[in-house]
């Protein structure tokens, strides 16, 4: 019931953002569509935490702000390497241990790694992520530890000590 309500609210916001019409006919159409979608989701039995990723908004938002600062820093490093005349790069493959078994935390962590320029998560395994780094100094496991802790915290999953 709680998930159905959250899904309905999210879809209402999306509808109002994208349509921009506030005449009764369109609003009624919107309400009917949302009701049908929620009913179908409930019937399929997929109204769970994965379909409706309800995260605490302030936590997620503050994580994204931190991540954006990291992205800017990493961008500077990559841009310096790419634009330097002799293009000194040192590609590295490194295994980063995972600190949680929850799918959503793993996804958040792997996506954050890929989003940061200079590091791409290549392969997901049950207990580690294979990460390809453009520069050797980007592949230190300590740097990933903080990102892992913060991303688990952002989606409200308790990270275990690694």
């Amino acid at each position: 019931m709680r998930y159905a309500l959250i899904l309905a609210i999210m879809m209402t916001v999306a509808w109002l953002t994208l349509s921009g019409y506030f005449i009764p006919l369109i609003l009624i159409f919107g309400a009917i569509s949302i009701a049908i979608v929620v009913w179908i989701c409930a019937r399929m039995g997929i109204l769970d935490v994965e379909t409706v990723p309800y995260m605490s908004l302030p936590k997620t938002l503050s994580y994204f702000i931190w991540l954006f600062a990291e992205i800017v820093k990493a961008n500077m490093q990559v841009i310096k390497a790419v634009l330097s005349p002799d293009l000194e790069v040192s590609p590295t493959l490194v295994k980063i241990p995972l600190n949680s078994d929850e799918d959503i935390a793993e996804t958040m962590f792997a996506n954050s790694i890929t989003l940061t320029p200079g590091t791409v998560s290549v392969d997901m395994q049950p207990d580690y992520i294979l990460v390809h780094a453009l520069l050797e100094e980007m592949s230190a496991p300590e740097d990933f530890k903080e990102m892992g802790e913060r991303s688990a915290w952002a989606v409200g999953v308790k990270a275990r000590e690694i």
Partner: protein
């Protein structure tokens, strides 16, 4: 972009002979131009990286640079230009989905290459010198 800057200044100058320039509008235009130009710089640097880097995996990094900071800064510029309108909300949504989908696509490509046993070049790499005996 220079055109719109001049137009903004001109339209505000028309209003009176006492030269009351629309400072906020001018500031907003300059800010959005600066943001978009920085974004375009990142996109160009990323393209250059795709051309210069040695192998598939390293090129992915350069491509990732264009769709994080490059695209986001261009969208930020557009948001500043359109102000508090419905268009800004839509642009915010575009920026958000870009932030979610681009790493997923990059991971899918990298994983496909890894599964197909494409071995990454590891270790130090330096660009071949131009004025060597390059054959």
């Amino acid at each position: 972009m220079m055109m719109s800057l001049i137009l903004a200044a001109a339209s505000s100058a028309d209003q009176g002979a006492s030269l009351n320039i629309d400072w906020i509008g001018l500031f907003r235009t300059i800010l959005s131009c600066a943001s978009m130009l920085t974004g375009i710089f990142f996109v160009m640097a990323g393209t250059l990286g795709v051309l210069r880097l040695p192998d598939f995996y390293t090129r992915l990094h350069a491509a990732g640079m264009t769709d994080t900071l490059g695209a986001e800064l261009v969208i930020l510029g557009l948001i500043i230009q359109s102000g508090f309108t419905q268009m800004s909300l839509k642009l915010l949504l575009v920026a958000f989905f870009l932030l979610l989908t681009s790493p997923t696509a990059t991971h899918a490509i990298a994983n496909a290459a890894y599964k197909a046993k494409l071995n990454p070049k590891l270790g130090k790499y330096t660009a071949p010198s131009v004025d060597g005996d390059g054959s």
